[in-house]
Symmetry: C2
Subunit: 242 residues, 2 copies
Amino acid sequence: MPEKLKPAGETRAADVLHRMRADIINCTLKPGMKLKFESLREMYEVSFSTLREALSRLVAEGLVVAEDQRGFIVAPVSIDDLNDLTDVRVLIERECLTLAIKRGDDAWEATIIGAFHRMDRLQERLGLKYYLSEEWTKLHGDFHFSLVVACQSPNLLEIRQKLFERAHRYRRMSSQFRTKWRAKDVEHKMIMEAVIARDPTKAGKLIERHIRETTANVVKYAGHLFEAPDEEPRSRAVRVSA
Amino acid sequence: MPEKLKPAGETRAADVLHRMRADIINCTLKPGMKLKFESLREMYEVSFSTLREALSRLVAEGLVVAEDQRGFIVAPVSIDDLNDLTDVRVLIERECLTLAIKRGDDAWEATIIGAFHRMDRLQERLGLKYYLSEEWTKLHGDFHFSLVVACQSPNLLEIRQKLFERAHRYRRMSSQFRTKWRAKDVEHKMIMEAVIARDPTKAGKLIERHIRETTANVVKYAGHLFEAPDEEPRSRAVRVSA
DNA sequence: AAATAAATTATTTTCGAAATTTTATCCAAA
DNA sequence: TTTGGATAAAATTTCGAAAATAATTTATTT
């Protein structure tokens, strides 16, 4: 086994892209932060051009903002963005769910049940602070994906995935400050049951409530982090501490 | 005035991105075509890294496909992709239209009427083959954008724009082979009237019909261009002729 | 002191050579 | 003839130096 690095088939740029996307989504790279090339070069151990390649993709995904001739910053967060994101997610998730219920087969149902079980067990094992776990986050993402994977629309799934990632960044911000946690997660179970009962109306309403309540919690616990009235009007961007 | 080049504020990479996106959308760079760096370098007069930057963005937009360690190809076209694209566009355009009708003000209505007028007059002037004109294409895009611009959702507008661009590539493919043209364009006028009458149900149905009929025409006139049963199983990609 | 300009420093952007990887060609063995 | 493997050629990917641009500091003038 090699000591450390292993892009394995993919290019170095693709590897950096994945790592950087993960770092932005889980707020290791903080919203609004200036992305200095020297720092990034140390952090990811690649050259300028390779970095720019990854950054360019992230710009297209809406996770990074390019300021022509003045570098890149991590996409800022705001209440407006969160609200808009929430509305669009409701539209897309509901459509995906409706289609999946129409088109999914038995194997699909089994996948959902499996994904829920994995998430649920880990949740029990981790106790109240499950939300802070990287592993639970992964399984939570897998569960939500399993619900819609049978919709058969590559475009919808692609759009959904990108929105889900951006929403996760907000969830991540609030999870640090959250004090109250639903002990037993009944929401996910209800969604799953409605989906397997092939009830698109009920499933749609439940997923909408799930998304909107999550947003409400984000605003409640992390709202104070958004749009801090700019102290330095000149350079709004936060510095990266190298 | 400088002789030729003028990125004007934006970076060289951003300039190449715009030119390349336009070339893919209007099929100067043909679907499935292998994108060789030497050819591209001549074509756009920039270096490897700058090219890769632009290509990376186009990958994220779904106009280019990256084949790890084996370069890039223009995103292929297919009936399946067109059908999926059509369904998702119907969903998104209808939502945008509904929201715009709810939220738009008088100035917005005026914008629509202006955009329609510009498109309509050019159409009259150009006669039957208006569809082949670059300028008409631009005004047509502007008109459709004006219909939804008041929806107030940056995310929906962004998604809509990217889908519209990809759909345009299909329209462009069929326009070369099309023999019958609707002499007077009544469809756009009806949509505009329903929107200004603030009738979301009617406007939604009309925009859906507009999109689906366009797709039907694409299949009719350009369907034979899709998914030519691969003659060379090894290298499916078409070569760029430098 | 405040404002403007010039010079300096810091940072980003671009380039093409060098390294890596894939693809094509050739040759020997079955 | 076909198969497998080495060798050569072609293409992509990565790198860091050099050029271009922006930000900061210093100097000069009002």
